[in-house]
């Protein structure tokens, strides 16, 4: 556990941020994954236009999700959450390893 934490810290210069545990990173990652899957479905699978009324719903939703997901990841990267060391709460990426 400590090892993986240290690797994370070493890889990123922002040691005092929430890092991967930032909710925005998690939301962004999930939306990107879903966006890619849906867009691929829209491109390569049957769009089932009899159900959707002619719209390629998978493709459109996939693209929107992909963009939204990237925006979340970008937001988290540009404005990282800095966690005060003393709270030791849910978002901490900065608490001393001895706490864990």
């Amino acid at each position: 556990m400590n090892q993986s934490r240290n690797q994370t810290s070493a890889a990123s210069p922002r040691r005092h941020t929430a890092g991967l545990f930032d909710i925005r990173t998690i939301i962004g990652a999930l939306l990107v994954v879903y966006g890619v899957i849906l867009a691929l479905m829209g491109l390569f699978a049957d769009p089932e236009t009899d159900k959707t009324g002619g719209v390629n719903a998978n493709l459109w939703t996939g693209v929107v999700l992909l963009v939204a997901g990237l925006l979340f990841v970008g937001w988290a990267r540009l404005r990282p959450v800095v966690v005060p060391t003393d709270t030791g709460g849910a978002e901490t990426g900065s608490a001393p390893p001895s706490n864990h």
Binding site: I23, I26, L30, I37, P47, G53, T87, G88, A90, E91
Partner: protein, 582 residues
């Protein structure tokens, strides 16, 4: 012999999911369990497990605040009610939820956050002492178990629709999944998941609504089709009543327009909603996890913004389902249709049928993931609130005192397991109701309406005595239960029908009765018993609390969009506009 056991099972499923759909659902669960594992590393002391160490920013707790409530109530209940009666359902949001959420943020939250209580019953203890505390803790714990049962029931119906498993098996599997993720990570994981599922559910319901609107020919087409359907079936509410939110007779069940408006504003808007939002610790607990009093106050106010627009992706699909889905249209025309989650088609099934008819594989999987996530989050919220109240308010105070923190943490985990098992039982109670909103509102009337009466009186009237505290609660709940028995259907088949009110009007009536009985008895009892000394009421009663204790000193330096009152004003203005527009 080509698999005779599997073939009929597959045709029994309501939804025909493909491998991609299962993949999407599996990815969601991988994320959820991953959060649980990550959150677990952070959990050290009991305060972390229960209140997330008070370290979350306001926008996270604000979304969690709405998501904790975006479970069964919003998605299945609102679409079911939308399919049944149409636009008046929006009162649950624009008259019900929003004003109460703003009131919670502006007026109530400083008391909760400032007094550092861990639960609403704990607040009752400090204000009124043992009697009121015990009554409230027990009734709260019971209510959470019953509501967790509703969530579990709906979760089970989705699994059943998807896989065709028997309800009991579906319930057991669902309970197992919810249990594993609560025990893995506590409240932090629950809150993170709630925020995550909010995005998934919106991403699934928004395309569903847009596709549905497209298929019926836009809002104009929907109005036309509802008008035609209502003309064909005089037993349903007339088209005008289904397409306009006021006066909402179909919602309240009253014949008179004036009574209907009064019933909605006082019964739903004031007693039920204020009672629900301001005293429901499932919601309040989210705000308590934020990092400052300013964030705590902003939590319900930030939550009010997405909440305002939730009707467009829940009620609207329900209305669309009532004209687009053959089974729901037949049900609305008064026929009994085979199928659905429980053998015959119910309004509760509206959304599942609409998904079946409109969504291609892929989007379908995301919608299923969103529904599963929402019900799981709803149930997890009930269970974690139960667990807090059980371990601190009941076990620590009345059964085993003065043990180390780890002991109560262990009790909390055991309580979680027990609550999940009990919820499997209470899930069967929910099967008695064709529209689970009726059941839910009835429960809120029993538990939240008297609590709100006691709370508000105790907060603003320092003369109110400890005896009045518990007497009011007991009498309020008892009177609501009595009224529910006397109406046509507030208790499902157990009601006697002596009072000729049915539908949700019956729940409003029970709640209003509870509120009035509670207030009257509390005042009478207070006048003949001894009040607490004023010195003990600091931080608990409005007049005894210094104003500077109720605000965040830093808040004045924030820009307007980060301050409590301007945000609340904007939300209020928006909801007034919505009320006028529809």
């Amino acid at each position: 012999m080509p698999t005779p056991a599997v073939a009929p099972l597959a045709t029994d499923t309501l939804i025909d999911a493909s491998a991609v759909d299962y993949l999407i659902v599996a990815i969601y669960f991988a994320f959820v369990l991953g959060i649980g594992v990550m959150a677990r590393r952070q959990v050290s002391e009991s305060i972390d497990f229960f209140l997330s160490g008070r370290s979350l920013p306001a926008w996270v707790t604000g979304l969690a605040f709405v998501s904790a409530n975006l479970g069964a109530v919003e998605i299945m209940g609102m679409s079911a009610t939308g399919a049944e009666i149409g636009m008046p359902t929006v009162h649950y949001f624009w008259i019900g939820a929003i004003p109460a959420m703003l009131f919670l943020g502006v007026v109530m939250m400083p008391f909760y956050y400032g007094s550092k209580v861990r639960s609403v019953p704990e607040f009752m203890f400090r204000r009124f002492g043992t009697g009121a505390h015990l009554v409230n803790s027990i009734s709260f714990a019971v209510a959470q178990l019953l509501i967790a049962g509703i969530n579990l029931f709906l979760l089970g119906t989705v699994i059943q629709a998807l896989l065709g498993w028997p309800l009991l098996v579906a319930l057991l599997v669902a309970a197992g999944v919810v249990l594993s993720y609560i025990t893995l990570g506590g409240l932090s994981a629950a809150i993170y998941n709630e925020v995550l599922q909010f995005f998934v559910i919106v991403a699934a319901l928004l395309p569903l609504t847009l596709l549905g609107l497209d298929r019926v020919g836009g809002w104009g087409g929907l109005q036309e089709k509802i008008t035609d359907a209502a003309a064909d079936n005089p037993d349903t509410a007339p088209a005008a009543a289904q397409l306009n939110s006021w006066p909402g007779n179909a919602l309240s069940g009253f014949d008179s327009d004036l009574l209907s408006v009064v019933g909605i504003v006082f019964g739903l808007g004031f007693v039920l909603s204020f009672g629900y939002w301001t005293t429901n610790f499932v919601e309040v607990q989210r705000a308590m996890a934020s990092n400052s009093i300013s964030s705590a106050r902003k939590t319900p106010i930030i939550g009010a913004f997405p909440k305002m627009f939730v009707p467009f992706i829940t009620i609207l699909p329900g209305m669309i389902a009532a004209v687009l889905v053959a089974e729901i249209a037949q049900k609305k025309a008064g026929e009994t249709v085979e199928g659905g989650a429980g053998g015959t088609v119910q309004y509760n099934d509206s959304l599942l049928y609409l998904m079946r008819d409109l969504l291609p594989n892929g989007l379908l999987g995301m919608a299923i993931a969103g529904l599963l996530a929402a019900f799981m989050a709803g149930m997890a919220a009930n269970i974690s609130a139960f667990n807090t109240v059980f371990s601190y308010d009941l076990w620590e105070r009345y059964v085993v005192r003065d043990r180390p923190d780890g002991y109560y943490l262990a009790v909390g985990r055991l309580a979680t397991v027990a609550a999940t098992l009990i919820a499997i039982g209470t899930a069967y109670l929910a099967t008695n109701f064709s529209n689970i909103m009726d059941y839910l509102q009835t429960l809120f009337g029993f538990f939240n309406a008297p609590l709100f009466a006691t709370f508000i009186l105790g907060m603003f009237w320092k003369r109110m005595t400890p005896t009045a505290g518990w007497v009011g609660l007991v009498a309020g709940t008892a009177s609501a239960v009595t009224v529910a028995f006397l109406t046509e259907d507030a208790f499902g088949s157990w009601s006697t029908g002596l009072i000729p009110v049915g539908g949700q009007g019956a729940a409003f009536l029970a709640a209003a009765t509870a509120f009035v009985v509670d207030i009257v008895l509390s005042v009478v009892v207070s006048l003949v018993t001894a009040p607490k000394p004023a010195a003990e009421l600091k931080g608990l009663v409005w007049s005894e609390t210094p104003r500077e204790d109720l605000v965040d000193p830093d808040e004045a330096s924030y820009p307007w969009y980060r301050r409590t009152l301007p945000l609340a004003g904007v939300a209020l203005a928006m909801v007034v506009v919505l009320n006028v527009a529809f």
